[in-house]
């Protein structure tokens, strides 16, 4: 189990009760299921992108993994145990980067040290904060969104987590800080083998940093797996429309322009050379699935089924 950082089995979360709505507004599916039938396995040491449109259930998934929400059905395990037992070894940064507004930056770091003394790395926290040129005496409520993100990341990283869950971590950052903090995250992963799971609705932001993908849409997992494997399992083809028979293949998206048929599909066998198959980019793949909600999902569960 130790090589699995995070796994979900038929995981679901329903918001319906009046008081139970999360602040992030992720219950976009209308008071019903924010997440449903979610099954995947994330090996340890990966940097996983959780992508999907706003309201797709990304935040709910991360909050479930962090033990902040109890699942309505199914189960999720992190670091080989249940989320509540793993809390000390998991770092989490929520989308709105909550911090105590009345405290100063320095006091906020002291809070982090007091709440998790066993794993706290004060030096790391101070390095991240000082890289942002933050006055330690500044009150949190006076900080900009990007500065708050920096402090929130410092808190999560100084905890030296084995699993780091980041909900839209880069949204508030300028390009320079984004690059620098992403570098810090990658360095953490390289040095400690930290598994990082980060959500975003901007795929390009994650393309270079992530090696694993979880595509969530409409509260369900649409794609899950190593990015290389997922890209290799798909092909972009273009062929003469009357001659092409897409039948045996799983078509994600197809379009006919004049006599030309272009499609993104999962080949069931060898593709004819004159279809000129090419490997899609990550962004093309994600967009194709998001544009076509009816496309069959590709997750470890479905590939196991088809392998039988």
């Amino acid at each position: 189990m130790t090589d699995t950082a995070m796994a979900a089995t038929a995981l679901g979360k329903r918001f319906g009760r009046r008081w139970g709505l999360p602040r992030s507004g992720e219950a976009g599916t209308g008071g019903g299921w924010a997440l449903r039938d979610c099954t995947f396995r994330l090996p340890a040491g990966r940097v996983c992108a959780v992508v999907g449109p706003n309201g797709a259930g990304k935040s709910t998934l991360l909050a479930l993994a962090a033990g902040l929400l109890a699942p309505s059905e199914g189960r999720v395990t992190v670091l080989g145990t249940d989320p509540a037992s793993a809390r000390a070894r998991v770092g989490y940064v929520a989308q709105d980067k909550p911090l105590y507004p009345q405290l100063t930056v320095a006091e906020t770091l002291l809070v982090g040290a007091d709440l998790n003394p066993a794993r706290w790395n004060a030096e790391a926290a101070e390095r991240i904060v000082s890289a942002g040129d933050l006055n330690p005496k500044a009150r949190i409520r006076t900080l900009s969104g990007g500065q708050r993100t920096r402090v929130a990341l410092a808190l999560a990283l100084a905890k030296q987590p084995e699993l780091l869950l980041l909900d839209e971590p880069m949204a508030d950052l300028d390009p320079l800080a984004r690059h620098e903090l992403m570098g810090t995250l990658m360095s953490q992963a390289a040095q400690h083998g930290t598994t990082i799971v980060m959500s975003s609705h901007v795929v390009a932001e994650l393309e270079d940093s992530c090696d694993h993908l979880l595509l969530v849409g409409g509260g369900r997992v649409r794609l899950a797996g190593e990015i290389d494997d997922l890209l290799a399992a798909h092909a972009r083809v273009s062929a003469l429309s009357e001659a092409a028979d897409l039948e045996p293949h799983t078509v994600v998206e197809s379009r006919v322009t004049g006599r030309q048929l272009t499609a993104l599909l999962r080949p069931a066998g060898r593709l004819p050379d004159d279809w000129r198959p090419t490997r899609p980019s990550l962004e093309e793949l994600v967009l194709a699935y998001l544009r076509n909600p009816q496309a069959a999902p590709l997750t470890p569960a479905t590939s196991e089924e088809s392998a039988v």
């Binding site: 940097v47 990658m186 390289a190 940093s209």
Partner: protein, 135 residues
């Protein structure tokens, strides 16, 4: 020491860029046998790319026999890459060919396209690296 510059829009897979830039540094003599490559941590901190990408590139270089990983110490250059010296017969032949091409009325771009086409025919296995290239 080399510093990698990752161009996200080049269309070349990230790990291939690292392999190519390392080889370039070896050819230019920026890296010599015994030199240490930057650690994965140093590379990803500077470039914000995934650590596994760096490790994949280093494994590729190791397979080519250019570098070796020493446990706990880092990755070190084993041998340099010599480019053909300026006065070699190959260079002279190419020189003569270029003069003839110019006389035949080919311009710079024509010659480059021709050259790459021939390269691709004769060094097809080299093309493997670029498979991740979506373009």
């Amino acid at each position: 020491m080399v510093e990698y510059r990752i161009d996200r829009h080049s269309g070349v897979a990230t790990y291939v860029q690292i392999v190519q830039q390392t080889k370039q540094a070896l050819r230019l003599g920026l890296l010599r046998p015994g030199d240490k490559l930057p650690t994965a941590r140093e590379v990803v901190e500077a470039t914000a790319i995934n650590p596994n990408t760096v490790l994949k590139a280093y494994r590729e270089l190791e397979r080519d026999g250019l570098v070796e990983a020493r446990r706990g110490l880092g990755t070190f250059v084993r041998r340099g890459l010599s480019t053909a010296p300026a006065d070699s017969p190959l260079r002279a032949e190419l020189d003569g060919w270029a003069v003839r091409a110019r006389k035949a009325g080919l311009d710079h771009d024509d010659v480059a396209a021709l050259f790459i086409a021939v390269l691709d025919t004769h060094f097809a296995d080299h093309d493997q690296h670029s498979q991740g290239d979506p373009s």
